[in-house]
């Protein structure tokens, strides 16, 4: 648990341990969500996700139709 002070401008400083742990760098955009508590998310980097997904794009099976049909076929065998 960490504590940080809110300035008169409304800004806060993230403790260095958290910045290191979550690889948060200056200028990076984070998402702040109000869900009854305030949750801070590292905003997902789409290009990073696409790079990770690349090898699976080549894996695409010859299964035709939509995802629901593939699931139903596997689970219920129809």
């Amino acid at each position: 648990m960490y504590q940080t002070k809110i300035t008169s401008q409304g800004t806060i400083s993230l403790p260095i341990a958290l910045r290191k742990k979550y690889n948060l760098t200056p200028g990076e955009v984070v998402t702040v969500e109000d869900n009854g508590r305030i949750t801070l998310y590292k905003t997902p980097d789409l290009s990073e996700l696409r790079a990770h997904n690349k090898s699976y794009v080549r894996n695409r099976t010859s299964e035709s139709g939509d995802g629901f049909s593939a699931h139903v076929k596997e689970k219920y065998g129809t």
Partner: protein, 135 residues
């Protein structure tokens, strides 16, 4: 999220956004999202994205989870964040249970309508406290 939605996105749009496997379509999606507009994504679309990534692209659940978190934590999308934030860790951990079944349990929990009655043995093994096996 205070912005008014500018429309909704279907399964294919989300898939092209994540996979970039049909460059022409990905370009169109990227262009659509260059403004600050907010788009709605229905639970059904997210579930179908998960099925497609799992069954058709044979992606591991950990990476699927990362992809869906990438969508639901993006402020440009309005969706059922609470439900999916709760269900995704269970989906990633219980490989014997489909996302549909994980969602059914989570709906029952949120609606305070437990137990979930089922014939599915795998589901009762993964969620023994929340399900009842009908025999």
């Amino acid at each position: 999220m205070a912005h008014k939605s500018q429309g909704s996105l279907d399964t294919n749009v989300i898939l092209r956004l994540l996979l970039d496997d049909v460059p022409v379509h990905t370009k169109i999606v990227d262009k659509l999202l260059t403004n600050t507009a907010v788009y709605e994504i229905a639970d059904m679309a997210l579930v179908e994205v998960i099925f497609v990534l799992e069954k058709i692209y044979t992606m591991p659940r950990a990476l699927i989870t990362e992809n869906i978190l990438g969508i639901i934590r993006n402020t440009q999308f309005n969706c059922n964040r609470k439900l999916f934030e709760r269900v995704l860790p269970n989906y990633a951990a219980n490989t014997n249970v489909s996302i549909a079944d994980c969602l059914l349990v989570e709906y029952a929990r949120l609606q305070k309508a437990l137990p979930l009655h089922t014939f599915d043995v795998a589901l009762t093994k993964s969620y023994p406290a929340d399900t009842v096996l009908l025999t």
